[in-house]
């Protein structure tokens, strides 16, 4: 219907965005009526996302016509902001941000590089940037989940960890089982989404490819490729980040620094 009134892509886009925003506002008003006040938050999130995505779209217009090095820089910037977001989960651990950045570069970056080299990702910015951003996003989510779980496991098992230390165990041995638990937790959403691919959801990339005119069969297979890469890059990122943070929760004299909150209260009396 809208395309009849707005023949060119730009005005059509604005009209479609306006309709989506109107639905969102309507829904927020409805929530207000049933005394759930998310109006301000939804409004801010909506405006933010719109500005961000339009800005990215505009940058992409410039970047996609630029040299391939530019793509690398864009991805690097994305990795930095992903690291800042994921490291929020372990605020009280010094150097966590750097550790997460390093693990996303190694996990997501190396997979994108490898896949581009092999030819699974085409050697052009139109492929590298969107697929790369998906890998970085996956890495970020896996790191955040893994680190959050690791923090919770360590704080819940302070006694056990210190018992092992007091018996002469290296910090690594005292905490390895929590690294494993954290890593497994970080992988659950990836494995579930791989398992349910096509049945529960048709991911954005496949939908986009079909909308852009690719054959649904190829779009589907390519989506599998992307999901498989996502699992590997998320896994590598999460594992590296948790292992790096594992070292940082101990002092140089092998003392556990990340204590449970009530523990701190007891000892500071």
């Amino acid at each position: 219907m809208l395309s009849q009134w707005f023949p060119d892509e730009f005005t059509l886009g604005i009209a479609q965005a306006a309709v989506a925003a109107a639905f969102l506002l309507l829904f927020s008003f409805f929530l207000l009526r049933i005394k759930i006040n998310l109006f301000k938050e939804i409004l801010i999130a909506m405006l933010r996302s719109l500005v961000q995505i339009v800005a990215v779209g505009s940058v992409l217009i410039l970047v996609l016509n630029g040299p391939i090095v530019l793509g690398g820089l864009v991805l690097l910037g994305m990795m930095a902001s992903a690291a800042i977001t994921a490291a929020r989960r372990v605020k009280n651990i010094p150097g966590a941000q750097r550790a997460v950045f390093f693990s996303i570069v190694l996990g997501s970056g190396s997979i994108v590089a490898l896949m581009t080299f092999v030819g699974v990702i085409e050697w052009k910015l139109e492929s590298i940037i969107p697929v790369g951003s998906m890998m970085i996003n996956g890495g970020m989510i896996a790191c955040a989940l893994g680190l959050e779980r690791f923090r919770a496991e360590v704080q819940a098992h302070t006694d056990q960890i210190e018992t092992r230390l007091a018996l002469g165990a290296q910090p690594k041995i005292a905490t390895d089982e929590y690294v494993r638990a954290a890593f497994q937790a970080s992988m659950i959403p990836r494995i579930d989404s791989m398992r349910s691919l096509g049945i529960v959801w048709i991911p954005g990339l496949m939908a986009g490819m079909i909308l852009a005119g690719s054959s649904p069969l190829y779009a589907g297979i390519y989506q599998f490729v992307v999901i498989a890469m996502l699992l590997v890059s998320s896994g590598v990122s999460a594992l590296i980040s948790v292992v790096l943070v594992q070292k940082r929760i101990f002092s140089k004299a092998d003392q556990l620094l990340l204590k449970s909150t009530d523990d701190v209260i007891v000892r500071s009396r």
Partner: protein, 239 residues
């Protein structure tokens, strides 16, 4: 007894604290603590809760770091010893009996395994015999009473062949019978193996039964250290 004390005094202390302080978030938890511990001694540490008794043991085991001061372990600054080795040599038994997942034997094996030593079943049986728990080797830790768990913790610390034992109210969670059992057992271990011992307790009567010397802590400060009867008489007159 007096003869032994004289002999002991002429020897090097096993552990010596020199003006040890520990502060956390601006709070002084230990203030200027100095004392020596000799072979064959049992030093009871008493004081109200929050006086720094547990912190003192944690600092000696180096689970916590002193803010200032020195700790000399058998003539050596303890910062020169790797934390892993130091903790094997200064065996800590915590107030809560925390057992590691698995069987009783897994727990006993844990410490020596960290140094690449694997205990034989016979050695484990021997350790369990010391704590009066023969036949418990293959029990799962979920099937133990509080007293049994605490004694396993003791056997687990002894398996490391420590040169000093740090006991943090090891009988506080036990009923009267188990308490008497653990005390008798410790008295035997200390007598046989001559392991010096820092024994944190809140019971003056236990200090009187077990210790050769008593150290009184209050708000992180060393109030008094001396022979059992001198300190405890003064203490009971105050309280």
């Amino acid at each position: 007894m007096p003869g032994r004390n004289l002999k002991v005094k002429s020897m090097q202390p096993v552990v010596e604290l020199r003006a040890v302080n520990r502060k956390v978030n601006g709070y002084s938890i230990l203030k200027d603590i100095s004392f020596e511990l000799f072979v064959g001694e049992v030093l009871a540490v008493i004081g109200p809760s929050g006086s720094g008794k547990t912190s003192l043991l944690r600092v000696i085991n180096r689970l916590d770091e002193p803010t200032s001061g020195e700790i000399i372990f058998q003539g050596e600054d303890y910062r020169e010893i790797s934390p892993v080795e130091l903790r094997q040599r200064a065996g800590l038994v915590m107030q809560k009996a925390i057992l590691l997942p698995g069987s009783v034997a897994d727990n006993i094996r844990f410490g020596p395994a960290q140094r690449g030593i694997s205990l034989t079943d016979q050695e484990i049986n021997q350790l369990l015999k010391q704590v009066d728990l023969e036949g418990f080797r293959d029990r799962e830790i979920s099937n133990l009473s509080g007293g049994e768990a605490q004694r396993i913790c003791l056997a687990r610390a002894l398996a490391n062949q420590p040169q000093v034992l740090l006991l943090d109210e090891p009988t506080s969670a036990l009923d009267e019978d188990s308490r008497a059992g653990v005390e008798a057992l410790m008295a035997e271990v200390i007598r046989e193996q001559k392991i010096p011992c820092v024994w944190v307790t809140h019971q003056l009567s236990q200090a009187a039964r077990m210790a050769t010397r008593v150290l009184v802590l209050d708000k992180g400060k060393l109030v008094k250290v001396g022979k059992v009867d001198e300190v405890l008489n003064a203490q009971s007159m105050v309280s």
